[in-house]
Amino acid sequence: MFQNKKILYSVLSALIILFVVILIIRPTKDKNQKDFESILSEGKISESKELPNLPEDYADHKLMEYSMEEIARILQEKYGKNIDNPAAQIAMIEELMKDLPKLYPNDWVKVLNQILGYAFPNKALELLRMSESLYNYNRFREANMSKVGLMSDEARREMMWKERYRLFGEKADQIWAMEKKMTVIGDSLKRIQESPAGNLDAKLSQYSQTLKEQFGKEYPRLMENKRQQLTEGFMVAVQKDLKVLSYGERKSALREIRQTMGMDQAALNRWDALEEEREKAWQNQQKYAEKRNQLSTKKGGMTAEDEKLLDAMRKQLFGEEAEIIKNEEASGYYRASDERTYGVN
């Protein structure tokens, strides 16, 4: 009986120790999370303060060069007009969260709260709550990095959006507005790529419309910065359509696509010249590949004479690029076996 009790006590003691150890080592909130929680639960913001004048040349300097009061004044100037917009809020918070932890590693959350309170006393708690969400979102991304990399695009999107909505609520739509727009465009291109060949004009019009709808008044700016990438994305999506056209028809279709995407006359002329050059290069590649194939498959393999012949042919057909093509072949890469993507290569 005594013996059994002894065992029982030992087991119970071991369990208690185990429980305490688990309590100690279980993943806990870090100091920053605790600081956020403590400030938010108290609901206290820093006392409002009369802020100094806006520093004259502040745009030429980093925020952190200034005092907390001056930073708050600069934030009012930079973000005040749009402070109700979650995208502006997150941009402001990120700007602060980039450098505050480096300067105040132990209490940057408190400093952040102070600056937000000085700058936007009526919104300070809301902004601090968003800062907490951003901090937790970054921790979530870090913790799930490996997992996310191996997911399908759809599964990854679902997981990320679920967490964004959980942390930021409906504001997530505005914070990730650019990503949402690009996803719509990517999906539109995917649908075009998967659709049967034909109706190139309708596809182009649909794509162009999607871009305009998504970007509205930002459309000209988008095109100024990304015209080539957006055009190339469409070219890739309509390869089925381009492949069935004759050289002349294709040339005119490519020109029309580029024109619709807003390229000027000079750009269109440059493209006409490049398309001709590439057409010739592809024909030369085929001609050369046939000869190489013929020489390499003959009985006894290639002789030194054959190598010389190929060298001469490369120089004649590819000019200065001949040496590079020779290097490529030595490494096992043959351009002629590349897939041709009309309008792209």
């Binding site: 980093k62 695009d153 914070i175 990517g186 897939e339």
Partner: protein
């Protein structure tokens, strides 16, 4: 104004200019092409590789004061391209693709030259692209070529994967684990990609010559292909390395990458031999420091209360022959950026300020005439 005062004003202006005291980077003369490493983009615009989590590409300038989906640290008229090539392929293939993309961009915009910033294999692809463009245009097309964390002299990780080291069941699976599932897309060749990143020719019986040694001989630092060559080197101690880089639970991510010898004398897949100590900040989780210097070694000066800047570390000298750096160039830890291989692109954890980092590279390119 008397001549003394004039001189003082000129001196102050010069000081302001050379220390880069202004709002972020100036506009580069030529557009900047961002060339990505192994793995692909999340979408056609390449936002995530060289971007933040909100869909903003580090090369997107802000045109209005309050515009938010942009990089406020670069000039409002900056021109940049996030070029996209096959995620997993050799640099012979990817370099030619990169040249095509750059040629397309130049044709659409009328740009006469470009600068290239290449991360990881992107820095290797960029060397090939510069040579292809030189041949096609009959002149130098790339002005500044800057590599970031590039394995110019190979990576032991690539050889470990090809050798199917303990815990590695297939090349493709190992690359997918490190870089994500883009490898399953058509046109990708994980074995060719891995062979590219081993210093020596990986197999003497496959009838082809692969690896960085041969590639370097063909596409070395060369002033006719680009006017300026420089590299940024990353390394971090294993405790801070991104878990995504852990190939194995036991941790084949800690490369011994700071010993010197000619070529790959210990046959680990990278030139140099290691100094016998792994955990001493001599690799970034994938690439050792002895593999990364090309041209000038650049120093990244991170600053919380001023704009970040890039300067040249002149004490180590210039690597003009990628297959023959000096002992100091392969082993010195000076000017090494304390980040892992994935920190410097849009991969969390996100304590690194990519927007300002790349802005500081753009500003540096301006100082080099690009």
């Amino acid at each position: 104004m008397n001549s003394k005062k004039k001189n003082l004003v000129c001196l102050l202006a010069l000081l302001l200019f050379t220390t880069g005291v202004h709002a972020g980077s100036r506009k580069t003369v030529y557009p900047v092409v961002f060339a990505h490493g192994l793995s692909g983009f999340d979408n056609l615009l390449g936002y995530y590789y060289f971007g933040n989590d909100y869909g903003t590409f580090v090369g997107d300038p802000c045109d209005e004061f309050l515009e938010t989906a942009c990089n406020g640290s670069i000039h409002s008229s900056q021109k940049a391209l996030a070029a996209s090539v096959t995620p997993f392929q050799s640099s012979e293939v990817r370099g030619t693709q990169l040249a095509d993309r750059i040629q397309n961009y130049m044709t659409s915009t009328g740009a006469t030259k470009v600068n290239i910033i290449g991360h990881s294999q992107g820095g290797i692809d960029a060397r090939k692209a510069a040579a292809v463009l030189r041949a096609r245009y009959g002149r130098q097309v790339v002005h500044a070529l800057i590599s970031v964390s590039s394995p110019h002299r190979g990576s032991p990780t690539a050889k470990y994967i090809l050798d199917l080291g303990p815990g590695v069941t297939s090349v493709v699976n190992a690359l997918a684990k490190l870089f994500g599932n883009a490898i399953y897309g058509s046109g990708n060749d994980g074995i060719a990609a891995a062979k590219q990143l081993v210093y020596n020719d990986y197999s003497s019986t496959d009838g082809i010559t692969t690896g960085m040694k041969a590639f370097n001989a063909n596409y070395n630092v060369n002033s006719s292909n680009a006017a300026y060559w420089g590299s940024i080197i990353t390394a971090q101690d294993s405790i801070n390395t991104n878990p995504a880089l852990y190939l194995l639970k036991e941790g084949f991510y800690n490369i011994d990458g700071d010993g010197y010898c000619v070529d790959d004398c210990d046959n680990d897949g990278a030139a140099g031999k290691g100094d016998g100590t792994r955990g001493n900040n001599d690799d970034d989780g994938l690439v050792g420091i002895n593999s990364q210097q090309m041209g000038d070694r650049l120093q990244y000066n991170e600053c919380a209360i001023c704009f970040d800047s890039i300067t040249v570390n002149t004490s180590l000298g210039y690597v003009s022959n990628l297959n023959a750096p000096t002992s100091a160039q392969m082993t010195s830890k000076s000017s090494v950026v304390s980040q892992d291989h994935l920190d410097v692109v849009g991969v969390p954890p996100d304590t690194f300020d990519e927007e300002e980092f790349y802005a500081s590279i753009l500003e540096f390119i301006v100082t080099k005439g690009g």
